[in-house]
Amino acid sequence: MGPDGVFPAEMPERGPALPGALDDNTVERLVCGRVEPDDAPPGYAGVARVLQAAGGPAEPDELAGRDAALAVFRAAGPAGERGRAGSRAQREPGPRGVPGRGRPGPRTRPGPAARGWPGGRARARVVALALAGVVAAGGLWMAGGARTVPGLRSPTGRAGSPAPGLVTQARPMTPPVTGAGANARASLQSSARQGSTSRNGGVTASRSSGHGSRQHRPGNPPTSKPKPKPKSPPQAEISKPNGSEKPRHQR
């Protein structure tokens, strides 16, 4: 019989206390797991129990991957990294005598072929090809500057050509002539040099005006296409205007 005249089984069960506000110190102690559930503020006994469980000791299944972690450490850890570094690791002594520092690793530095760079004869072949290309390009450049076109016979057929099949076209180094002014200038020049215009036919200015500035470069005046002769050798058929003939690098 209770004090109110009722049996204890009939008494209304007192529910759990409603959680109230917490101060910073209590929150700090709760999250650090320093509050036992029995000592927790009203309504926070379950919270204290849950937080203690969440920060509890390790369970066996959580430590099941130790071997795998050690394998990763062996493969990608400092020792493995030094092993990949190769000779550099062998030269450097370990700071403070830490064991394992400077130990040569199982792997050595990969060779040039493994790094994607050709080695030995292949490298020499690449270098030789590159040099040949540079020399050929330089020769073509010099030939273009000297008005020397490979494979083009001289229209005059004069002796004293620099080489068989290489003919120097002697032309005055005139500045670039473009547009409408080219026609006027061509007419003036045609009256001044009658000999040359008779050979070239006075087509220099007209061609330059028709083709724009593609052939007008300093030191490389517009050229006139030589008139085909009826007795020209068959090499003239394969000759092309200056600039369009490019040597092919043979490997």
């Binding site: 069960e13 529910g15 759990p16 206390a17 409603l18 959680p19 506000a21 917490l22 910073d24 929150v27 709760l30 999250v31 650090c32 797991g33 309504g43 926070y44 379950g46 919270v47 129990r49 849950v50 937080l51 469980a53 969440a54 920060g55 509890g56 000791p57 390790a58 369970e59 959580e62 430590l63 991957g65 130790r66 795998a68 972690a69 050690l70 990763v72 450490f73 062996r74 990608a76 850890g77 400092p78 020792a79 990294e81 030094r82 370990g94 403070r96 830490v98 064991p99 394992g100 520092r101 130990r103």
Partner: protein
Amino acid sequence: MIGPSFAAVLAAAAGGDEAAFGTLWRDLQPGLLRYLDALAPGAAEDLASETWLRIVQGLDRFTGDERAFRGWVFTVARHRAVDRWRRRSRHRDELVPADALTGLPAPDDPAGAAVDAISSRAAVALIATLPPDQAEVVLLRVVAGLDVAQVAAITGKRPGNVRVLAHRALRRLADRLTADTRVRGAV
């Protein structure tokens, strides 16, 4: 926590000592799994492996005390979880292993499962039902053992916000546990 011998353990691990690395791993792996299990259910093991790979690769370049080391480890883990979340957000379908589902609390009785079984996994699962920012703050404080400043640095929040989130999280947990107790008492 390893304690005063942490510096020697870290130096030995950086020098390639497997036993020292095993000490570090044994100290941090449980908290790492619990934290990642709340952030990415079902992928905690994979993310922990990725985290340890990064830790191992940068171990010899780390300088700092144990507190900083723990903060670094959980920062890396959080980045891995965020990366995974971004990858998964591009692919809506997600395969969840059946084992991961058994660890999750049922929606009708999360608090009961946590309080009754009181296993660490169930407790973490209950914390994971909080809003994400609150759950992360509580887990970083409880599971990882980080202080307010470290949690603020990792989550990109101000320390005051971290404290407020912790207050709200504990209050929400208490409300949920109290309500569950009342429901079970009424039944």
